[in-house]
Amino acid sequence: MSVMSESSAADDRDLALATSLRGLGLLAPRRSAWPELARALAVAAPAAAPRPRYRRRLWQFAAAASAVTVALLLWQPPPAPRVGLDPARSVSTQANALMQESERWERTLRQLEPYSGAVDARSALISAEIEDLIGMTDLQLGAASDPGQMAALWQRRIGLLRRLAEIRTDAAWQQAQPDQQLSMSQFNPTLL
């Protein structure tokens, strides 16, 4: 068989494969997503105040970088009062506690922001993914109305913020002591 006809046969096969794959047809979800979407849209309609994004805002923190460097090197992670979903606590108390914990981690991250660019490629990739997930969680929080769901989302947000803080703390340590392999997770095993 000539090269040309072999190539033509391969093209025919690929065309046939594409046709067969398209022939698999459409799948239907087991349940309609619309009722949940309608609820989410009803809640999200009033524009929620955007929560801070962490993506590449070094310029906002560059001025503060030198001032916090020394403090960061001495920084210990907060004892991490891990707020659980305790059924005995009222919903509003839980929600407030979770929001406060989230704010604490945001403050920590603001301090660590100068180190967000100092991480290796793998950590940068993971950080970017975590930031995306925080954004997605914020989107879901804007749409959530059920207190239980909101509490779970706040928990998730806190977990993501802590992961981000861990990465940046590692970067801060390594920048200060490049020969050390100390990781925040070594002395804070409660991290996700």
Binding site: R13, S20, R22, L24, R30, L41
Partner: protein, 188 residues
């Protein structure tokens, strides 16, 4: 003309109503695109629960971003891009994007092949590594170019081409043992 199942032209008045926040228009759009979005998510993720969540998240994102749609591309291709992004984001979250993963051995539990031509193809597709399967589906079914696929994955065009070639070859291998099945697609 696109052969994608997403290629549904919306009446301009429906889009206008949706842009004005008409929830009934949203619902109409949801009904039109429910199955294409779910199918795409299912084929990329190979998981019913994740496909369901992707359907929800993609549609929510669509409605929340509708004011940003500028008519520069067809509405359906914009929605499809949102759905692809959501599905690939889930793959990344799963850490399933392993560019070196190997195809598992095919467990041949199949009943007579003549009965199951489509099932065989779907099953073979599901056994491809997630990344390979996604490339095969986006190229052959959704009509994305290699360049577009490469952009989705942050890779080069040759990555897309090699994944496609690899996926095609694997599919061929998986389907070959059944001479009576899929003869018409050139795998025997």
């Amino acid at each position: 003309m696109s052969t994608s199942s997403f290629a549904i032209e919306l009446p301009p008045h429906l889009l206008a109503r949706a842009r004005n926040g008409d929830v009934h228009a949203f619902e109409e759009i949801y009904r039109l695109f429910e199955r294409p979005v779910y199918t795409l998510a299912w084929r990329l993720l190979n998981d019913a629960d994740e496909a369901q969540e992707t359907l929800h998240d993609a549609m929510l994102r669509l409605f929340q971003k509708l004011s940003q749609f500028r008519d520069e591309a067809p509405f359906w291709s914009w929605l499809r891009q949102i759905a692809v992004n959501e599905a690939l984001m889930r793959l990344r979250r799963r850490r399933l994007i392993d560019y070196t993963d190997v195809l598992p051995e095919l467990v041949d539990e199949r009943t007579p092949a003549a009965l199951l031509e489509r099932h065989d193809l779907a099953q073979a597709l599901a056994q491809l590594p997630a990344i390979t399967r996604s490339v095969v589906w986006l190229f052959h079914v959704e009509g994305y170019s290699h360049q577009e696929i490469a952009q989705q994955f942050g890779k080069t065009e040759s990555f897309s081409k090699s994944q496609l070639a690899r996926g095609t070859q694997k599919l061929r291998g998986l389907l070959a043992p059944h001479p009576e099945g899929l003869a018409h697609v050139g795998y025997v």
